[in-house]
């Protein structure tokens, strides 16, 4: 890759040589990236330092999400796992409902009262984590909540198939689960929900990563016979029955 340092001569002869000798560049950023080639992108293609800066910014973004999902071990040891889980959700901007109490929500600025720290023996009944940045490691804080009945993970950007495979720990108590609008959840993650045998309400509407919403809903309904599944209208996927054959990802050596 031919590049130079920022302070040297202008890049008049440097074409974007992303292509390596012998092989053409495989990564052509598509979709939204093509719409506006920002100045940073333009510079990053030509100068090592700018590319390093952008990689550092990307790394910082990922670190921020990791920081939000850390384990609150001292709260856990002092107040117990239920309070720690509630604190975690409130810190993320979600809402918590203890058994027999009202919903506790943080204010617009993210502040919340610490009254719930006194509720030591009361289990958490429902969690509304819509839009929160919960990810795989963050679920560590939620799994000890053994009496959780209702979990709403609508529009969570970092909840993916891996997270769904961890939810089997809540199988005894969980009765309601909502995954509507999660961009990273696909039918492969939904297949893990068969562990949740007590589930009565499941919302899988508006999942952009699911290839065939109608067929997926039918298969999930078959998998969880006691559960009411809300999702896409199943007739939606059957418009042109002949051309709507589910596309199997057939790639070589797929074992």
């Amino acid at each position: 890759m031919e590049k130079s340092s920022f302070c040297l001569v202008a890049p008049v002869w440097k074409q974007s040589t992303r292509g390596i000798r012998g092989l053409s560049g495989l990564a052509a950023p598509e979709g939204s990236e093509k719409k506006g080639r920002t100045l940073l992108q333009f510079l990053a293609d030509r100068f090592y330092d700018m590319e390093a800066l952008r990689e550092y910014l990307l790394h910082r973004q990922m670190l921020k999400v990791h920081q939000k999902n850390r384990s609150f071990t001292n709260i856990k040891t002092r107040y117990g796992p239920e309070i720690a889980g509630a604190f975690f959700i409130l810190k993320q901007g979600g809402a918590v409902k203890f058994q027999g109490k009202e919903w506790i929500r943080p204010s617009g600025r993210g502040r919340f009262s610490l009254e719930f720290l006194k509720l030591q023996a009361v289990p958490v009944e429902a969690i509304d984590a819509s839009g929160c940045a919960i990810n795989y490691t963050g679920l560590d804080n939620l799994l000890p909540l053994k009496e959780l009945r209702s979990l709403w993970l609508q529009r969570c950007p970092h909840v993916d198939d891996w997270c769904l495979s961890r939810l089997h720990g809540l199988a005894h108590s969980l009765q309601e689960l909502s995954l509507a609008g999660c961009p990273r959840v696909s039918e492969r993650g939904l297949a893990c929900l068969h562990h949740l045998q007590n589930l009565r309400r499941l919302d899988i509407s508006d999942l952009p990563a699911v290839a065939n919403p109608g067929l997926t809903q039918i298969l999930v309904e078959e998998m969880l016979p006691n559960c009411e599944v809300l999702g896409a209208n199943w007739a939606q996927g059957l418009k042109g029955a002949s051309e709507e054959q589910p596309q199997d990802t057939a790639s070589p050596l797929h074992a």
Partner: protein, 467 residues
């Protein structure tokens, strides 16, 4: 000179006639050249635009960063010098390249070249969409008969110690959970509850390739045909002479031509998969009296394996894990449309010929289908949709990988011979080899039982329940 030769033509011998012919040819060429020059000087057909763009291109290529070589275009050739040459650009080779670039002490400290004959948080690249491996977290379900139940229990114990969430199920529990299984002959089953499943290897390969390219690793398409090395004879403490070899150059031959590029290198990493045995032979490994360390070959050879895809309308549902039967037959779901994918490893006697990648459908009829239908009655009616074959880099010694340097060829490192497990072990092995190269010893994962020397010492590491 011409005049003198012409003078001797009439009385000349055959030898002189030949000389005359060659000299005449030379003269004719020179004459043509003279005519050519003459035309250029005097000609009036002059394409300005084309000439100008040609000149521009030449200047661009001559300036620093271009590909100008005084003799001819070298864009397709690998560089003349590289610190590490990785032979084989599969998942293992790319993993080693990734970890070398990730663990290097300074940005751009090590120049890595990956030579490939044929042509995804950690793997996040700026401006590229996040890597999607198509991971199915549905887990593996391994079935054991009476004979294998004890081994399965001890395996599960080890897995749990390492943090895997695996549960053991009795035939009764199995029937409750998966009613479509016929539990006859099954004594115990182990089921992975989380973080276990299957993914698309092609996606991982592409993701690794993109990430590794963005980290500055060079790629080249070619075949390694030769190693130029130097030998050093040393005496060990008991007075025997030991020959240590060091590879200095790798000859990379281009496709469909005799052209090759000698690449000077410091370290060679053999991740050529099923062809690692051949590459090791090129480096002189195994060329010695049998029974000595010098005469121990790398026991990796290609073995053909078939994979079949079939459709079964009443087959097991969405929750199906990858099921591995007591007979060695395995299958899993593929997509949403009740298609299934599976196969079985043949026994030693049934090993197919590795000359080509043709699929043997009778193998499915006779050796795979009966076992599947016995275990899952719904599979009695199925229709095979497609099939393909691929090579395992099969380690004939103990079916486990070879990792680390060769004791005699001091700068060749291996990461091959995983016999079908290369994909799942690639990220860890890549890191181990990169650490071995950069630090001189294994740091995070100790893979010393997998060194080459075990072939000479005869110490097999066997794993039970292998697909």
């Amino acid at each position: 000179m011409l005049v003198a030769t012409q003078g001797t033509v009439l009385g000349g011998t055959v030898l002189r006639g030949a000389m005359l012919r060659s000299l005449l040819r030379l003269a004719v060429c020179r004459g043509l050249l003279a005519r050519g020059l003459g035309t250029r000087r005097g000609g009036s057909t002059w394409d300005w635009d084309a000439e100008l763009s040609n000149v521009k291109k030449k200047i661009q290529s001559i300036l620093p960063g271009g590909t100008w070589d005084p003799l001819y275009d070298t864009r397709h050739l690998p560089p003349e010098r590289s610190d590490v040459v990785i032979v084989g650009g599969g998942v293992l080779g790319l993993s080693v390249a990734y970890w070398l670039k990730r663990l290097e002490k300074q940005r751009g400290a090590i120049r890595v070249l990956v030579v490939e004959r044929d042509h995804t948080e950690y793997l996040a690249v700026v401006d590229a969409p996040p890597l999607d491996l198509q991971f199915n977290p549905s887990g593996y379900l391994l079935l054991a008969s009476e004979a294998g139940a004890a081994v399965m229990e001890s395996n599960v114990k080890v897995q749990r110690q390492e943090g895997a969430n695996v549960c053991l199920m009795s035939p009764e529990q199995l029937r409750n959970k998966f009613p479509w299984i016929n539990t006859e002959g099954v004594a115990l089953a182990s089921y992975g509850m989380e973080d276990e499943g299957w993914f698309d290897p092609w996606c991982l390969l592409q993701g690794l390739r993109q990430k590794v390219q963005s980290m500055g690793v060079l790629f080249c398409q070619g075949e390694v045909t030769r190693f130029i090395s130097s030998s050093l004879h040393m005496e060990n403490s008991s007075g025997e002479v030991v020959t240590l070899k060091r590879i200095h150059e790798v000859h990379v031959k281009m496709d469909n031509s005799l052209e090759y590029q000698p690449v000077e290198c410091a370290i060679v990493i053999n991740t050529a998969g099923a062809w690692s045995g051949h590459v090791a032979e090129l480096a002189g490994i195994g060329k010695g009296p049998p029974g000595t360390l010098a005469g121990t070959k790398l026991p990796v050879e290609p073995r053909k394996r078939y994979v079949y895809v079939w459709h079964c309308p009443q087959g097991p549902g969405l929750e199906t894990p990858l099921v591995l039967d007591t007979s060695g037959a395995y299958f899993r779901r593929e997509g949403l449309g009740n298609n299934y994918l599976g196969g079985r490893s043949p026994t030693e006697e049934e090993e197919p010929d590795t000359g080509n990648l043709e699929v043997d459908h009778t193998f499915f009829q006779d050796k795979v289908w009966p076992h599947l239908a016995q275990r899952i009655p719904a599979f009695e009616t199925l229709k095979v949709r497609s099939a393909w074959a691929g090579y395992y880099d099969y380690n004939t010694f103990d079916q486990n990988g070879v990792v680390g340097p060769h004791p005699l060829v001091v700068n060749m490192y291996f990461a091959t011979g995983f016999s079908g497990h290369g994909l799942q072990q690639a990220p860890a092995v890549g890191r181990a080899v990169a650490e071995m190269v950069l630090e001189g010893s294994f740091q995070t994962i100790d893979l010393s039982p997998f060194l080459f020397s075990r072939f000479y010492l005869g110490e097999k590491i066997k794993e039970h329940n292998v697909i």
